[in-house]
Protein backbone atom coordinates (compact mmCIF):
# COMPACT_ATOMS: atom_id res chain seq x y z
CA UNK A 1 0.00 0.00 0.00
CA UNK A 2 1.52 3.24 -1.14
CA UNK A 3 -0.09 5.44 1.45
CA UNK A 4 1.14 5.36 5.00
CA UNK A 5 -2.29 5.27 6.61
CA UNK A 6 -5.82 4.17 5.84
CA UNK A 7 -7.88 6.99 7.26
CA UNK A 8 -10.88 7.11 4.99
CA UNK A 9 -12.43 5.84 1.77
CA UNK A 10 -12.53 9.46 0.62
CA UNK A 11 -8.76 9.33 0.06
CA UNK A 12 -8.74 6.11 -1.97
CA UNK A 13 -9.06 5.82 -5.72
CA UNK A 14 -11.20 3.05 -7.23
CA UNK A 15 -8.20 0.90 -8.17
CA UNK A 16 -6.89 0.90 -4.61
CA UNK A 17 -10.31 -0.22 -3.41
CA UNK A 18 -10.41 -3.05 -5.94
CA UNK A 19 -6.89 -4.14 -4.99
CA UNK A 20 -7.91 -4.41 -1.37
CA UNK A 21 -11.03 -6.40 -2.23
CA UNK A 22 -9.07 -8.72 -4.52
CA UNK A 23 -6.48 -9.38 -1.87
CA UNK A 24 -9.22 -9.96 0.70
CA UNK A 25 -10.83 -12.58 -1.49
CA UNK A 26 -7.55 -14.41 -1.86
CA UNK A 27 -6.81 -14.33 1.84
CA UNK A 28 -10.29 -15.50 2.77
CA UNK A 29 -9.12 -19.03 2.01
CA UNK A 30 -6.82 -18.99 5.02
CA UNK A 31 -9.83 -18.94 7.31
CA UNK A 32 -11.01 -22.24 5.81
CA UNK A 33 -7.81 -24.18 6.51
CA UNK A 34 -7.40 -26.57 9.41
CA UNK A 35 -4.55 -24.41 10.68
CA UNK A 36 -5.77 -20.88 10.11
CA UNK A 37 -2.38 -19.22 10.07
CA UNK A 38 0.30 -18.02 7.70
CA UNK A 39 3.64 -16.62 8.88
CA UNK A 40 3.55 -13.51 6.71
CA UNK A 41 3.45 -10.83 9.41
CA UNK A 42 5.55 -12.70 11.94
CA UNK A 43 7.35 -10.23 14.18
CA UNK A 44 5.11 -7.30 13.32
CA UNK A 45 3.39 -5.50 16.18
CA UNK A 46 -0.19 -4.39 15.66
CA UNK A 47 -1.82 -2.37 18.40
CA UNK A 48 -5.59 -2.09 18.67
CA UNK A 49 -6.07 1.29 20.27
CA UNK A 50 -9.75 1.54 21.03
CA UNK A 51 -10.98 4.71 22.73
CA UNK A 52 -14.57 3.59 22.19
CA UNK A 53 -15.96 0.24 23.18
CA UNK A 54 -16.35 -2.26 20.37
CA UNK A 55 -16.08 -5.97 20.74
CA UNK A 56 -17.00 -6.74 17.15
CA UNK A 57 -14.51 -4.63 15.25
CA UNK A 58 -11.72 -5.14 17.72
CA UNK A 59 -12.10 -8.90 17.69
CA UNK A 60 -12.20 -8.88 13.91
CA UNK A 61 -8.92 -6.98 13.71
CA UNK A 62 -7.39 -9.20 16.36
CA UNK A 63 -8.29 -12.36 14.47
CA UNK A 64 -7.10 -10.87 11.21
CA UNK A 65 -3.72 -9.96 12.66
CA UNK A 66 -3.26 -13.28 14.40
CA UNK A 67 -4.09 -15.27 11.27
CA UNK A 68 -1.19 -13.48 9.63
CA UNK A 69 1.01 -14.29 12.67
CA UNK A 70 1.32 -10.67 13.80
CA UNK A 71 1.58 -9.84 17.49
CA UNK A 72 -1.71 -8.13 18.27
CA UNK A 73 -2.08 -6.10 21.45
CA UNK A 74 -5.39 -4.66 22.65
CA UNK A 75 -5.24 -1.34 24.42
CA UNK A 76 -8.42 0.25 25.72
CA UNK A 77 -7.93 3.94 26.40
CA UNK A 78 -10.29 6.37 28.03
CA UNK A 79 -11.53 9.56 26.48
CA UNK A 80 -13.38 10.84 29.49
CA UNK A 81 -12.80 14.26 30.95
CA UNK A 82 -10.65 12.51 33.51
CA UNK A 83 -7.89 12.32 30.96
CA UNK A 84 -8.29 15.94 29.97
CA UNK A 85 -4.65 16.75 30.26
CA UNK A 86 -3.58 13.87 28.10
CA UNK A 87 -3.12 14.78 24.50
CA UNK A 88 -3.01 12.80 21.32
CA UNK A 89 0.66 13.61 21.00
CA UNK A 90 1.40 11.61 24.14
CA UNK A 91 -0.47 8.69 22.66
CA UNK A 92 1.52 8.89 19.47
CA UNK A 93 4.85 9.10 21.32
CA UNK A 94 3.95 6.05 23.38
CA UNK A 95 3.21 4.10 20.22
CA UNK A 96 6.59 4.95 18.76
CA UNK A 97 8.29 3.99 22.01
CA UNK A 98 6.59 0.60 21.79
CA UNK A 99 7.87 0.27 18.20
CA UNK A 100 4.40 -0.44 16.92
CA UNK A 101 4.33 -1.22 13.21
CA UNK A 102 0.65 -0.54 12.90
CA UNK A 103 -2.06 1.02 15.03
CA UNK A 104 -5.74 0.38 14.60
CA UNK A 105 -7.60 3.30 16.13
CA UNK A 106 -11.22 3.69 17.05
CA UNK A 107 -12.07 7.07 18.60
CA UNK A 108 -15.17 9.03 19.45
CA UNK A 109 -13.85 12.25 17.87
CA UNK A 110 -13.77 12.72 14.12
CA UNK A 111 -10.22 13.39 13.03
CA UNK A 112 -8.43 11.83 15.99
CA UNK A 113 -6.75 9.13 13.82
CA UNK A 114 -5.59 11.87 11.44
CA UNK A 115 -3.87 13.74 14.24
CA UNK A 116 -2.24 10.59 15.59
CA UNK A 117 -1.17 9.54 12.09
CA UNK A 118 0.65 12.83 11.61
CA UNK A 119 2.53 12.35 14.84
CA UNK A 120 3.51 8.68 14.76
CA UNK A 121 5.77 6.58 12.55
CA UNK A 122 3.40 3.65 12.85
CA UNK A 123 0.92 3.05 10.06
CA UNK A 124 -2.56 4.00 11.17
CA UNK A 125 -5.78 2.24 10.29
CA UNK A 126 -8.98 4.11 11.12
CA UNK A 127 -11.41 1.69 12.76
CA UNK A 128 -14.03 4.39 13.12
CA UNK A 129 -13.67 8.04 14.11
CA UNK A 130 -16.68 9.92 15.44
CA UNK A 131 -19.18 10.43 12.65
CA UNK A 132 -16.49 10.72 9.99
CA UNK A 133 -15.47 7.39 8.44
CA UNK A 134 -15.22 3.65 9.08
CA UNK A 135 -13.27 2.54 6.02
CA UNK A 136 -12.87 -1.15 6.85
CA UNK A 137 -16.62 -1.43 7.37
CA UNK A 138 -17.31 -0.02 3.93
CA UNK A 139 -14.72 -2.35 2.43
CA UNK A 140 -16.21 -5.41 4.05
CA UNK A 141 -19.68 -4.28 3.00
CA UNK A 142 -18.38 -3.94 -0.55
CA UNK A 143 -16.82 -7.38 -0.46
CA UNK A 144 -20.08 -8.87 0.79
CA UNK A 145 -22.06 -7.09 -1.91
CA UNK A 146 -19.65 -8.17 -4.63
CA UNK A 147 -19.74 -11.77 -3.50
CA UNK A 148 -23.53 -11.78 -3.57
CA UNK A 149 -24.16 -9.58 -6.58
CA UNK A 150 -21.07 -10.24 -8.68
CA UNK A 151 -20.31 -6.55 -9.14
CA UNK A 152 -20.11 -3.17 -7.46
CA UNK A 153 -21.18 -0.84 -10.26
CA UNK A 154 -24.65 -0.08 -11.50
CA UNK A 155 -26.40 -1.14 -8.30
CA UNK A 156 -29.01 0.76 -6.33
CA UNK A 157 -27.98 0.82 -2.70
CA UNK A 158 -30.29 2.30 -0.07
CA UNK A 159 -28.68 3.41 3.18
CA UNK A 160 -31.36 4.01 5.76
CA UNK A 161 -31.18 5.54 9.21
CA UNK A 162 -29.33 8.16 11.18
CA UNK A 163 -27.10 9.55 8.45
CA UNK A 164 -25.98 12.57 10.48
CA UNK A 165 -24.17 10.54 13.11
CA UNK A 166 -23.11 7.67 10.87
CA UNK A 167 -19.55 7.06 9.79
CA UNK A 168 -20.67 3.84 8.13
CA UNK A 169 -23.04 5.82 5.89
CA UNK A 170 -20.30 8.24 4.88
CA UNK A 171 -17.71 5.59 4.09
CA UNK A 172 -20.19 3.52 2.12
CA UNK A 173 -21.41 6.57 0.23
CA UNK A 174 -17.84 7.36 -0.84
CA UNK A 175 -16.98 3.80 -1.81
CA UNK A 176 -20.09 2.86 -3.73
CA UNK A 177 -20.30 6.09 -5.70
CA UNK A 178 -16.62 5.90 -6.54
CA UNK A 179 -17.19 2.46 -8.03
CA UNK A 180 -20.26 3.55 -9.96
CA UNK A 181 -23.29 2.52 -7.96
CA UNK A 182 -26.18 4.76 -7.01
CA UNK A 183 -26.43 5.41 -3.32
CA UNK A 184 -29.69 6.58 -1.79
CA UNK A 185 -29.31 8.13 1.64
CA UNK A 186 -32.60 7.98 3.50
CA UNK A 187 -33.44 9.39 6.91
CA UNK A 188 -35.91 11.58 8.76
CA UNK A 189 -35.30 15.23 7.83
CA UNK A 190 -33.80 15.82 11.27
CA UNK A 191 -31.10 13.22 10.66
CA UNK A 192 -29.98 14.17 7.14
CA UNK A 193 -26.89 16.36 7.46
CA UNK A 194 -26.90 19.85 5.99
CA UNK A 195 -24.40 19.85 3.15
CA UNK A 196 -24.78 16.13 2.46
CA UNK A 197 -25.57 16.87 -1.18
CA UNK A 198 -21.89 17.74 -1.40
CA UNK A 199 -20.82 14.75 0.64
CA UNK A 200 -18.91 13.00 -2.14
CA UNK A 201 -16.56 14.85 -4.43
CA UNK A 202 -16.37 12.35 -7.32
CA UNK A 203 -19.38 10.92 -9.19
CA UNK A 204 -21.55 13.40 -7.34
CA UNK A 205 -24.61 12.57 -9.44
CA UNK A 206 -24.54 9.02 -8.05
CA UNK A 207 -25.48 10.24 -4.59
CA UNK A 208 -29.17 10.78 -3.84
CA UNK A 209 -30.99 11.85 -0.72
CA UNK A 210 -34.58 11.27 0.27
CA UNK A 211 -36.78 11.35 3.34
CA UNK A 212 -39.02 8.68 1.83
CA UNK A 213 -38.19 5.09 2.63
CA UNK A 214 -40.40 3.91 -0.21
CA UNK A 215 -38.41 5.94 -2.69
CA UNK A 216 -35.10 4.67 -1.34
CA UNK A 217 -36.07 1.02 -1.20
CA UNK A 218 -37.96 0.67 -4.51
CA UNK A 219 -35.96 -1.46 -6.86
CA UNK A 220 -32.97 -1.52 -4.55
CA UNK A 221 -30.34 -4.24 -4.94
CA UNK A 222 -28.97 -3.65 -1.47
CA UNK A 223 -30.65 -2.29 1.63
CA UNK A 224 -28.21 -1.14 4.27
CA UNK A 225 -29.65 -0.32 7.67
CA UNK A 226 -27.88 1.91 10.14
CA UNK A 227 -28.12 1.42 13.83
CA UNK A 228 -30.17 4.08 15.61
CA UNK A 229 -27.59 5.47 18.00
CA UNK A 230 -29.53 6.45 21.05
CA UNK A 231 -26.34 7.17 22.94
CA UNK A 232 -25.41 9.95 20.52
CA UNK A 233 -28.75 11.67 20.63
CA UNK A 234 -29.17 14.41 23.16
CA UNK A 235 -31.90 16.25 21.32
CA UNK A 236 -35.26 15.75 19.64
CA UNK A 237 -34.40 14.03 16.40
CA UNK A 238 -37.58 12.01 16.44
CA UNK A 239 -40.29 11.71 19.06
CA UNK A 240 -40.13 7.99 19.84
CA UNK A 241 -38.77 4.67 18.62
CA UNK A 242 -42.31 3.67 17.74
CA UNK A 243 -42.55 6.61 15.32
CA UNK A 244 -39.14 5.82 13.93
CA UNK A 245 -40.08 2.21 13.27
CA UNK A 246 -43.32 3.20 11.62
CA UNK A 247 -41.62 5.50 9.11
CA UNK A 248 -38.13 4.06 8.74
CA UNK A 249 -38.19 0.55 10.10
CA UNK A 250 -37.60 -2.22 7.59
CA UNK A 251 -40.65 -4.46 7.50
CA UNK A 252 -41.66 -7.21 5.12
CA UNK A 253 -43.91 -4.90 3.14
CA UNK A 254 -41.08 -2.46 2.54
CA UNK A 255 -38.67 -5.23 1.58
CA UNK A 256 -41.23 -6.28 -1.03
CA UNK A 257 -40.61 -2.99 -2.86
CA UNK A 258 -36.98 -3.86 -3.45
CA UNK A 259 -35.68 -6.24 -6.08
CA UNK A 260 -36.54 -9.87 -5.50
CA UNK A 261 -32.96 -10.84 -4.82
CA UNK A 262 -32.15 -7.79 -2.75
CA UNK A 263 -29.80 -8.30 0.16
CA UNK A 264 -30.14 -6.71 3.57
CA UNK A 265 -27.11 -5.52 5.48
CA UNK A 266 -26.50 -4.09 8.92
CA UNK A 267 -23.20 -3.12 10.55
CA UNK A 268 -24.45 -4.43 13.89
CA UNK A 269 -25.50 -4.59 16.61
CA UNK A 270 -29.15 -4.49 15.58
CA UNK A 271 -32.01 -2.82 17.44
CA UNK A 272 -34.77 -5.29 16.60
CA UNK A 273 -38.11 -3.53 16.30
CA UNK A 274 -36.48 -0.15 15.73
CA UNK A 275 -34.62 -0.18 12.46
CA UNK A 276 -35.51 -3.72 11.45
CA UNK A 277 -38.43 -6.05 12.10
CA UNK A 278 -37.41 -9.32 13.71
CA UNK A 279 -38.79 -11.50 10.95
CA UNK A 280 -36.81 -9.57 8.37
CA UNK A 281 -33.61 -9.69 10.43
CA UNK A 282 -33.74 -13.48 10.48
CA UNK A 283 -35.00 -13.77 6.91
CA UNK A 284 -33.24 -15.36 3.93
CA UNK A 285 -31.81 -12.20 2.37
CA UNK A 286 -30.00 -11.00 5.42
CA UNK A 287 -26.27 -11.25 4.85
CA UNK A 288 -25.25 -10.06 8.26
CA UNK A 289 -23.16 -13.15 9.00
CA UNK A 290 -21.41 -12.89 5.64
CA UNK A 291 -20.41 -9.41 6.65
CA UNK A 292 -18.62 -10.78 9.69
CA UNK A 293 -16.58 -13.23 7.62
CA UNK A 294 -15.83 -10.59 5.02
CA UNK A 295 -14.69 -8.34 7.85
CA UNK A 296 -11.87 -10.63 8.86
CA UNK A 297 -10.79 -11.08 5.24
CA UNK A 298 -10.77 -7.35 4.51
CA UNK A 299 -8.83 -6.59 7.65
CA UNK A 300 -6.32 -9.30 6.82
CA UNK A 301 -5.93 -7.78 3.40
CA UNK A 302 -5.28 -4.31 4.76
CA UNK A 303 -2.76 -5.53 7.32
CA UNK A 304 -1.06 -7.58 4.64
CA UNK A 305 -0.90 -4.70 2.16
CA UNK A 306 0.41 -2.34 4.79
CA UNK A 307 2.89 -4.52 6.58
CA UNK A 308 3.66 -7.36 4.22
CA UNK A 309 6.07 -5.58 1.95
CA UNK A 310 9.05 -3.29 2.08
CA UNK A 311 9.05 -1.41 5.36
Amino acid sequence: MKRKDLLGIQDLDPQEILDILGTAETLQEISTRPIKKVPTLRGKTVINLFFEASTRTRTSFEIAGKRLSADVVNVTAATSSVSKGETLIDTARTLDAMAADCVVIRHGSSGAPHTIARLTKARVINAGDGAHEHPTQALLDALTIRQRKGRLDGLKVAIIGDITHSRVARSNAHLLTKLGSHVWLCSPPTLMPVGSCDLVTTNREFLHRTYSMEEAVSGADVIMLLRVQFERMDESFFPSTREYFRCYGLTRSKVALAKEDAIIMHPGPMNRGVEIATDVADGPYSVILDQVSAGVAVRMAILFLMLGGQS
Binding site: T26, T40, L305, Q310
Partner: protein, 180 residues
Protein backbone atom coordinates in the same frame (compact mmCIF):
# COMPACT_ATOMS: atom_id res chain seq x y z
CA UNK B 1 16.43 -3.52 -15.73
CA UNK B 2 16.52 -4.40 -19.42
CA UNK B 3 16.47 -7.99 -20.55
CA UNK B 4 17.85 -9.15 -23.83
CA UNK B 5 17.65 -12.64 -25.27
CA UNK B 6 20.74 -14.75 -24.81
CA UNK B 7 19.55 -18.00 -26.34
CA UNK B 8 16.49 -20.24 -26.62
CA UNK B 9 16.70 -23.30 -24.46
CA UNK B 10 13.63 -25.19 -25.67
CA UNK B 11 11.06 -24.85 -28.41
CA UNK B 12 7.38 -25.78 -28.23
CA UNK B 13 7.88 -29.47 -29.09
CA UNK B 14 10.66 -29.82 -26.56
CA UNK B 15 8.51 -28.18 -23.90
CA UNK B 16 5.66 -30.60 -24.47
CA UNK B 17 7.94 -33.58 -24.67
CA UNK B 18 9.74 -32.68 -21.44
CA UNK B 19 6.46 -32.35 -19.55
CA UNK B 20 5.41 -35.80 -20.71
CA UNK B 21 8.75 -37.25 -19.66
CA UNK B 22 8.47 -35.67 -16.22
CA UNK B 23 4.94 -37.08 -15.84
CA UNK B 24 6.11 -40.56 -16.83
CA UNK B 25 8.96 -40.40 -14.32
CA UNK B 26 6.54 -39.44 -11.58
CA UNK B 27 4.28 -42.37 -12.44
CA UNK B 28 7.05 -44.93 -12.41
CA UNK B 29 8.54 -43.69 -9.15
CA UNK B 30 5.19 -43.56 -7.37
CA UNK B 31 3.92 -46.97 -8.56
CA UNK B 32 0.14 -46.72 -8.20
CA UNK B 33 -0.06 -44.58 -5.05
CA UNK B 34 -2.58 -41.68 -4.93
CA UNK B 35 -0.91 -38.47 -6.01
CA UNK B 36 -1.54 -34.79 -5.41
CA UNK B 37 -0.06 -32.32 -7.90
CA UNK B 38 0.46 -28.85 -6.49
CA UNK B 39 1.33 -26.18 -9.02
CA UNK B 40 3.27 -23.26 -7.60
CA UNK B 41 1.89 -19.90 -8.84
CA UNK B 42 2.08 -19.00 -11.61
CA UNK B 43 3.49 -21.29 -14.27
CA UNK B 44 3.52 -24.34 -12.09
CA UNK B 45 -0.22 -24.40 -12.62
CA UNK B 46 -0.41 -25.05 -16.38
CA UNK B 47 2.59 -27.36 -15.99
CA UNK B 48 0.84 -29.46 -13.41
CA UNK B 49 -2.40 -29.47 -15.41
CA UNK B 50 -0.71 -30.90 -18.48
CA UNK B 51 1.25 -33.40 -16.43
CA UNK B 52 -1.95 -34.51 -14.74
CA UNK B 53 -3.54 -35.28 -18.12
CA UNK B 54 -0.55 -37.43 -19.04
CA UNK B 55 -0.63 -39.21 -15.68
CA UNK B 56 -4.35 -39.89 -16.07
CA UNK B 57 -3.67 -41.31 -19.53
CA UNK B 58 -0.91 -43.57 -18.26
CA UNK B 59 -2.53 -44.83 -15.10
CA UNK B 60 -6.24 -44.39 -15.65
CA UNK B 61 -6.43 -42.40 -12.44
CA UNK B 62 -6.39 -38.61 -12.41
CA UNK B 63 -4.27 -37.14 -9.63
CA UNK B 64 -5.77 -34.57 -7.27
CA UNK B 65 -4.86 -31.01 -8.17
CA UNK B 66 -4.02 -27.95 -6.13
CA UNK B 67 -2.55 -24.46 -6.37
CA UNK B 68 -0.03 -22.96 -3.99
CA UNK B 69 0.92 -19.28 -3.74
CA UNK B 70 4.04 -18.91 -1.68
CA UNK B 71 3.96 -15.11 -1.29
CA UNK B 72 2.69 -15.37 2.27
CA UNK B 73 5.64 -17.56 3.19
CA UNK B 74 8.62 -15.93 1.55
CA UNK B 75 11.47 -15.23 3.93
CA UNK B 76 12.50 -12.26 1.83
CA UNK B 77 9.06 -10.62 1.84
CA UNK B 78 10.39 -7.38 3.19
CA UNK B 79 12.82 -7.10 0.30
CA UNK B 80 10.35 -7.60 -2.52
CA UNK B 81 8.37 -4.89 -4.27
CA UNK B 82 6.46 -2.46 -2.14
CA UNK B 83 3.15 -3.88 -3.32
CA UNK B 84 3.14 -7.63 -2.54
CA UNK B 85 0.75 -9.48 -4.79
CA UNK B 86 -0.88 -12.53 -3.35
CA UNK B 87 -2.64 -15.08 -5.51
CA UNK B 88 -5.02 -17.97 -4.93
CA UNK B 89 -4.10 -21.01 -2.90
CA UNK B 90 -6.29 -24.10 -3.16
CA UNK B 91 -5.14 -27.18 -1.34
CA UNK B 92 -7.46 -30.19 -1.52
CA UNK B 93 -8.73 -31.49 1.78
CA UNK B 94 -7.30 -34.65 3.28
CA UNK B 95 -3.80 -34.81 1.86
CA UNK B 96 -2.54 -36.72 4.90
CA UNK B 97 -0.60 -39.83 3.89
CA UNK B 98 -0.63 -38.89 0.23
CA UNK B 99 2.34 -38.19 -2.01
CA UNK B 100 2.44 -34.52 -2.94
CA UNK B 101 4.35 -33.41 -6.03
CA UNK B 102 5.28 -29.74 -6.04
CA UNK B 103 5.51 -28.44 -9.59
CA UNK B 104 7.46 -25.30 -10.47
CA UNK B 105 9.08 -23.91 -13.59
CA UNK B 106 12.57 -22.95 -12.44
CA UNK B 107 14.67 -24.15 -9.50
CA UNK B 108 17.21 -21.47 -8.64
CA UNK B 109 18.10 -20.45 -5.07
CA UNK B 110 15.66 -22.92 -3.57
CA UNK B 111 13.89 -20.29 -1.47
CA UNK B 112 10.56 -20.70 -3.26
CA UNK B 113 10.62 -24.41 -2.47
CA UNK B 114 11.61 -23.60 1.10
CA UNK B 115 8.58 -21.34 1.38
CA UNK B 116 6.36 -24.02 -0.17
CA UNK B 117 7.53 -26.55 2.40
CA UNK B 118 6.72 -24.09 5.20
CA UNK B 119 3.26 -23.64 3.72
CA UNK B 120 2.57 -27.34 3.46
CA UNK B 121 3.43 -28.08 7.08
CA UNK B 122 0.19 -26.49 8.20
CA UNK B 123 -1.93 -28.56 5.85
CA UNK B 124 -1.30 -31.99 7.25
CA UNK B 125 1.28 -34.77 7.29
CA UNK B 126 1.90 -35.93 3.76
CA UNK B 127 3.51 -39.26 3.06
CA UNK B 128 6.16 -37.63 0.90
CA UNK B 129 6.73 -34.23 -0.69
CA UNK B 130 8.48 -34.42 -4.07
CA UNK B 131 9.59 -31.69 -6.41
CA UNK B 132 9.30 -31.55 -10.20
CA UNK B 133 10.88 -28.63 -12.10
CA UNK B 134 11.31 -27.73 -15.72
CA UNK B 135 14.76 -26.20 -15.40
CA UNK B 136 17.37 -26.49 -12.66
CA UNK B 137 19.70 -23.54 -13.18
CA UNK B 138 21.97 -24.01 -10.18
CA UNK B 139 23.06 -21.34 -7.63
CA UNK B 140 21.34 -22.96 -4.66
CA UNK B 141 21.21 -20.98 -1.40
CA UNK B 142 19.36 -23.67 0.55
CA UNK B 143 19.92 -27.45 0.63
CA UNK B 144 17.09 -28.22 -1.81
CA UNK B 145 17.14 -30.71 -4.71
CA UNK B 146 14.47 -31.62 -7.24
CA UNK B 147 13.31 -35.18 -7.69
CA UNK B 148 12.38 -34.67 -11.33
CA UNK B 149 14.28 -32.27 -13.56
CA UNK B 150 13.39 -31.36 -17.12
CA UNK B 151 16.75 -29.88 -17.97
CA UNK B 152 19.81 -28.97 -15.97
CA UNK B 153 21.84 -25.94 -17.11
CA UNK B 154 24.54 -23.66 -15.77
CA UNK B 155 23.73 -19.99 -15.72
CA UNK B 156 25.38 -16.74 -14.84
CA UNK B 157 24.06 -14.55 -12.02
CA UNK B 158 22.81 -11.90 -14.40
CA UNK B 159 20.84 -14.37 -16.49
CA UNK B 160 17.11 -14.97 -16.17
CA UNK B 161 15.42 -18.20 -17.23
CA UNK B 162 11.99 -17.51 -18.69
CA UNK B 163 9.60 -20.40 -19.05
CA UNK B 164 6.66 -19.53 -21.29
CA UNK B 165 3.49 -21.57 -21.22
CA UNK B 166 0.73 -21.19 -23.75
CA UNK B 167 -1.97 -20.86 -21.07
CA UNK B 168 -0.22 -17.87 -19.50
CA UNK B 169 2.11 -16.42 -22.15
CA UNK B 170 0.56 -17.49 -25.47
CA UNK B 171 3.45 -19.73 -26.48
CA UNK B 172 5.43 -22.75 -25.27
CA UNK B 173 9.14 -22.05 -25.04
CA UNK B 174 12.04 -21.55 -22.67
CA UNK B 175 14.42 -18.64 -23.09
CA UNK B 176 17.54 -17.64 -21.28
CA UNK B 177 17.67 -13.86 -21.02
CA UNK B 178 20.47 -11.61 -19.96
CA UNK B 179 20.20 -8.63 -17.67
CA UNK B 180 22.19 -5.72 -19.04
Amino acid sequence: MTLKLNYQLMNADEVRGTLETLADQIVSTNAGRPLVLLGIQRRGIPMSQRMAKRIALQTGVAPEMGILDINLYRDDLTKVATQPVVRRTEIPHGIDDKDVILVDDVLYTGRTVGAALRALIDFGRMRTIQLAVFVDRGHRELPVEANYIGKEITTKDNEVVEVRMDEVDGEDAIYVMENS
